[in-house]
């Protein structure tokens, strides 16, 4: 980043946040340290920035509305009583059953195609620069993979967790909502609205739970 040996104040301003993250290389760090020895303005900047981080990281900075905790507790309890939402102990049987379905399905896919799989959707844009070990979610009959908890997961009862690399290898593409930044066109100058518009048929794919 900085090739010459002189570190000036502007270099410090640019790197001070990385310095506090311990995210500058050792030689640059020691040159910054030297600069702090001689420049009181930058030293004061460093102390001030560190103070900012320290103050805001304090739990006391977070204020919640009064009664927040008890309302949350109430809502969680309500959801347990609501029919259809609760997980009674025997529903644990569904998990191995779903796993079995997914495994047999997975074996079928694996035996019929070679890795990497062709994309499952004709409209799809392949993933770009996605961290391979990122934990993502897919559901059995959908084409996209998602961040856990994404609202646009179809058929949530049959979702499974895997790594982004596994999902890509199996032909899934990133969800255009929750993983938009990993789409190939994300930085190619199209607006997000255009992107959503062209991807719409894909999202609408299998309608809710009626897709099976």
């Amino acid at each position: 980043m900085v090739n010459d040996n002189i570190v000036n104040c502007e270099h410090v301003w640019r790197e001070i946040s990385n310095y506090l993250e311990d995210d500058v290389d050792a030689s640059f760090r020691s040159r910054m340290d030297e600069h702090f020895q001689t420049c009181s303005a930058c030293r004061s900047l460093l102390e001030g920035t560190r103070n900012v981080i320290q103050l805001y990281s304090d739990e006391r900075m977070i204020e919640v509305p009064s009664g927040f905790g008890s309302r949350l507790q109430h809502r969680l309890a309500q959801s347990r009583r609501a029919p259809g939402r609760s997980w009674s102990p025997w529903s644990a049987w569904l998990v191995p059953l779903a796993a079995l379905l997914l495994i047999t399905g997975g074996v079928r896919i694996a035996s019929s195609r070679t890795v990497p799989q062709p994309l499952l959707s004709a409209h799809a844009q392949p993933a770009r620069n996605i961290p391979p070990d990122m934990v993502v979610v897919v559901s059995a009959d959908a084409k996209q993979f998602h961040v856990p908890g994404c609202e646009f997961i179809h058929n949530k009862e049959r979702e499974r967790t895997l790594t982004a690399k596994e999902a890509v290898d199996q032909g899934y593409v990133p969800c255009v909502r929750c993983l938009r930044k990993y789409l190939q066109t994300a930085s190619a100058g199209r607006t997000s609205l255009e992107m959503e518009a062209t991807s719409e048929p894909d999202i609408a794919g299998p309608k809710q739970d009626g897709g099976e």
Binding site: E10, W13, R14, I16, S17, N18, L20, D22, D33, F36, S40, S44, L45, L46, E47, G48, T49, R50, N51, V52, I53, Q54, L55, Y56, S57, D58, R60, M61, I62, E63, V64, F68, R71, L72, R75, L76, A77, S79, R80, R85, S86, W87, A92, P131, V135, V147, P148, G149, C150, E151, E159, T161, R177, L179, R180, K181, T191, S192, L193, E196
Partner: protein, 220 residues
Amino acid sequence: MAEANVVVNNSVQAGTSHELELIDRVQRGENSLFYELVRPYERRVFAAAMAILRNESDAEDVAQEAMLKALRAIRQFRADARFSTWLIQITVNEALMRRRKDRNGVMEAIDDRRDEESDYAPRDFADWREIPSEALERKEVRQRLAQALASLDRKYREVFVLRDMEQLNIQETADALGISIASVKTRLLRARLMLRDLLAAGWEQGWFSRLPFEKGTKPW
């Protein structure tokens, strides 16, 4: 200067054995224990939703929805991640969805396109060495800090809250907001420097230093 890491690496430690046991039991179907599991993080979950939505009742609703989602998805949680991080990421995702739904995404697209690479030059070099943490006992100080944070542009505020208040790391912050690591770093630098500028001015005016318990005496 070697103590620099101490400040930023004060993140929440990995799950305690009690927490891991609770997770295990909830995963096996003891849903009534879920509140006990999330209780230590409920404030942070609210703060994450609030940073994105800036409206208390929306933030509370989203925080509750996120907790319900986390409960439904608890079996997907893997013990190699921090439970708090997982919760916050679900919350941020839920809050972003809510905002997109409410505003139809138009505002963000324009806002995020603005140049953020230009260098930021600090304005104020007031000597701001020590901030006794007792300063936070004063409501006035907390309000000043909250106001300063609220005055930041959305993109700076969100990154700052997730990294410095919620203690996500840079990669987790990038994942949660759906932006690049480079953007997180640039925005974080800007946010920290802008807050320092805003607050250093206050320091000069003395509202930090008028501490109630300074030197063991009360001013009243």
